[in-house]
Assembly symmetry: C2
Homo-oligomer: 95 residues x 2
C-alpha cells in the first residue's frame, strides 16, 4: 500500500495480515485449519471471543462450505460479528 496509509487502511490491512499469519502455519496457506483457527481466536480475540462458547461449534457455524477449514470470506464473517458486537456494546445503548 502507498506510504501514508491512514489508520483505517492500516486497521483493515492488519486484519487481513493476521489471517494469513495464521493460515500459512500449516496445510493450505489460504485457509485456517481447526488448529490454526483455535490458535488465532485464543491469541488474537481473547476479549471479543471470551463468551463465544465452544470453538468447534463456532468453526462449524462459520464453515459454510463444510470443508472443516476457514477460508478468508468465512473469517471476514467472524470479524463482522466482532464489529457488530463492539457497536452494540458501545453505541447500541445510546441509540
Amino acid at each position: 500500500m502507498a506510504t501514508g496509509a491512514t489508520e483505517l487502511e492500516n486497521s483493515i490491512k492488519n486484519i487481513v495480515c493476521i489471517f494469513f499469519d495464521y493460515a500459512e502455519k500449516e496445510g493450505k496457506a489460504n485457509t485456517l485449519s481447526k488448529a490454526e483457527f483455535t490458535k488465532l481466536v485464543k491469541e488474537q480475540l481473547p476479549n471479543l471471543m471470551k463468551d463465544a462458547g465452544p470453538l468447534d461449534e463456532k468453526l462449524k457455524a462459520l464453515d459454510v462450505n463444510h470443508d472443516q477449514e476457514i477460508k478468508f470470506s468465512e473469517y471476514w464473517t467472524l470479524i463482522g460479528e466482532m464489529g457488530k458486537g463492539i457497536k452494540r456494546e458501545t453505541w447500541g445503548k445510546k441509540k
Copy 2:
C-alpha cells in the same frame, strides 16, 4: 473492551469507531449521510479507494435499503471489499 486488547481487537474497534466518528457529525448519529460518506472516504481511504470511481455510484451500490444513507452494515460491506482488495493485491498472486 478489557485492557490488554490485541492488535486484531484494536483494529476491529478502530474500524467501528471511525464509522461513528463520521456518522455523528450531522443528521442521524448511526448512519453516514452522503457528505459524511464522502468525507470518510476522502480522509480515511485515500489509497484503498483511489481507483473506486465516482463516489455517488459507490454510495448507491452500497445503499441496499435505498435511504440515501450508509448504515453500519453497508459500511461493513465496503470494509470487506477493501479487505478483499488487499488480499488480492498481496496474497492473491502467490496462490
